[in-house]
């Protein structure tokens, strides 16, 4: 079982304190907001997809724990410049690998929150009701 010291690695804390593209993008073409039912944290991801089908710019906004914020920063940084197909093909396992430290199942939900919202954001053009076609993503079932 991973312990507290292992999870808060240096590069995790670096991303937490100095996140990449925290904020919202005024010129975004796509946007999705979601929450982690385990704790109620919310994250909004805004994207600008260009004509060639690439993620020209990506930003995230939200409050949350070290894991959710650092993982969002890492994901946004990694996905910028990728094609839509490449983002879609980026799996949950790859997200956990990108994050680094091994997480317990409940903390994996914190880590996968932004990943799930990003996947939905690809299907959520601003100004249209694009949510119905969004993939539901992995279940982040509510605690009891």
């Amino acid at each position: 079982m991973p312990n507290e010291q292992d999870i808060y690695e240096e590069h995790v804390l670096d991303h937490y304190e100095d996140p990449y593209h925290r904020g919202t993008l005024d010129t975004a073409s796509h946007m999705h907001e979601g929450n982690n039912p385990l704790c109620g944290d919310r994250i909004v991801i805004t994207l600008k997809l260009d004509d060639s089908g690439k993620v020209a710019e990506a930003w995230f906004e939200g409050e949350g724990c070290v894991i959710s914020q650092a993982s969002a920063s890492m994901l946004i940084e990694r996905m910028e410049g990728k094609t839509i197909e490449e983002v879609k093909a980026f799996t949950a396992e790859e997200m956990l690998e990108l994050f680094g430290p091994k997480l317990t199942p409940n903390r994996q939900k914190c880590c996968l929150l932004s990943w799930k919202i990003l996947q939905s954001a690809l299907h959520s053009p601003i100004g249209e009701d694009g949510d119905s076609s969004a993939p539901s993503g992995p279940s982040l079932g509510e605690e009891q």
């Binding site: 312990n3 304190e17 925290r22 704790c39 940084e77 914190c110 509510e142």
Partner: protein
């Protein structure tokens, strides 16, 4: 080394020997400090053994066979019902329905009594501090029949006074007032008897969610005089998968069954069915037999310790934790002052998320809850997303409270921002 002194009447050291799990080391190889009792309690050996003995020696289905094992299981299951009735001071075992838990019990009332008695424009009145189990079934009922759900807020001291309840009862004229006897997040213990009388005077039916009361206070359903009272087995040192729906007998009699199936019928034909009398009417399917036997053992254990002793000890621990938390720089207690609470203390730490608090405390061997504790409307109303919650029980010690407080005071240092910078790809940074 944990010493187990208590100025109350409990011999906590001796009690702890009855709970095998309290002796384990935590994942961080420190003594386990289990402060997540409001989510679920631990079990004494007597409960584990009672359940194991049933499976080994006399288990069978109940109310079905004529054979010896079935008679023995049926007898034990019904004895458990009688023990629960006595624990709650119910006037009849017909009023004690075994359900899967508090959630299932409230859903049964919502589906059966609610569908029968509520319609368009009727109001269900709740406290803002309710657990989701006492909110969502009423939202679902509202969707089905068109009634409304209204909430009573907490004041700036996290309290709800009688005037707020009286005013809401006057304003909304609710058909049902459903409230938790104690808040699982704020820790507040509410005046169940007084509020029940006020609600009855206003013409409302009253449901009390006693999930956070049954483990801690002596229940007396005849004195409380409510219409429905529900609680869970796993919060009173009993098994998961069982809870109790107590209802006034005349009310239960007038209600249609909710779940249909075996065990709840008198007769079944190709055209229909007639329901069994109470309490089986509400116990469709094979009931939680072994869980009922475990629940009986748990109630016997708590009764031996003494509910008044349990409550006094929890208040001692809760008061110490509350006072200690309020002294730590950057900590805000989310709940009223200690005299209004039992053993529950929720808090936030300035600049540190509840998940990270919980993760850090876990590293110190201290198990607390982090999140919204299934009370999202309350968290929204007080403007926080997530809190950390330490909840004590009678097997916890003063020394454990001190270990917890030390760990909390170390949290901020651990997560204090130190001007770190990302090392990779930062050149693409913010415009």
């Amino acid at each position: 080394m944990i010493v187990t002194t208590s100025p109350t009447n409990l011999d906590v050291a001796k009690i702890r020997e009855d709970f095998p799990i309290l002796g384990i080391r935590s994942a961080s190889d420190r003594p386990l400090v289990y402060f997540d009792n409001a989510a679920s309690t631990q079990r004494p050996t007597s409960v584990i053994e009672a359940m194991s003995r049933c499976y080994r020696e006399y288990y069978s289905n109940v109310h079905r066979g004529i054979h010896t094992l079935s008679e023995a299981s049926t007898q034990a299951y019904e004895n458990a019902r009688a023990t629960v009735a006595s624990f709650m001071n119910a006037s009849s075992t017909n009023e004690v329905i075994f359900a899967a838990g508090t959630t299932a019990a409230i859903n049964t009332v919502s589906r059966s009594w609610g569908d029968q008695n509520l319609s368009q424009g009727d109001v269900i009145l709740l406290l803002i501090s309710e657990h989701h189990a006492n909110i969502v079934p009423w939202h679902q009922l509202a969707e089905r029949v068109g009634c409304r759900v209204e909430f009573i807020s907490v004041d700036e001291e996290f309290l709800i006074d009688d005037e707020a309840v009286a005013s809401a009862l006057r304003m909304h004229q609710p058909k049902l007032f459903a409230f938790g006897a104690a808040s699982n997040t704020l820790g507040t213990e509410y005046p169940v008897k007084r509020w029940t009388r006020m609600a009855h005077d206003a013409g409302a039916t009253v449901l009390i969610d006693a999930a956070q009361a049954a483990p801690h206070w002596k229940m007396d359903v005849q004195d409380w005089d409510a219409d429905f009272i529900v609680f869970s087995g796993h919060k009173v040192c009993g098994p998961t998968g069982i809870g109790v729906l107590w209802g006034r007998e005349s009310l239960l009699d007038s209600m249609p069954p909710f779940l249909g199936g075996g065990g709840m019928i008198q007769t079944v034909t190709t055209d229909g069915f007639t329901a069994h009398a109470l309490p089986e009417k509400f116990e469709a399917g094979t009931p939680p037999i072994v869980e009922a036997i475990g629940l009986e053992a748990a109630i016997d254990y708590l009764t031996d310790v003494g509910m008044d002793n349990i409550h006094a000890h929890e208040r001692l621990l809760g008061t110490r934790a509350d006072a200690g938390l309020r002294e730590i720089n950057g900590v805000r207690v989310i709940g009223p002052t200690a005299e209004h609470k039992g053993g529950i203390n929720s808090f936030v730490i300035d600049g540190v998320h509840a998940h990270d608090v919980s993760q850090f405390l876990d590293g110190q061997g201290v198990a607390v809850r982090a999140g919204h504790h299934c009370t999202m409307p309350l968290h929204h109303a007080i403007g926080v997303t997530a809190t950390s919650r330490a909840s004590c029980y009678f097997y916890n010690t003063v020394e454990e409270v001190d270990v917890f407080l030390q760990a909390v005071s170390d949290v901020r240092d651990r997560f204090a921002k130190t001007g770190r910078r990302r090392r990779s790809r930062s050149s693409r940074s913010n415009s």
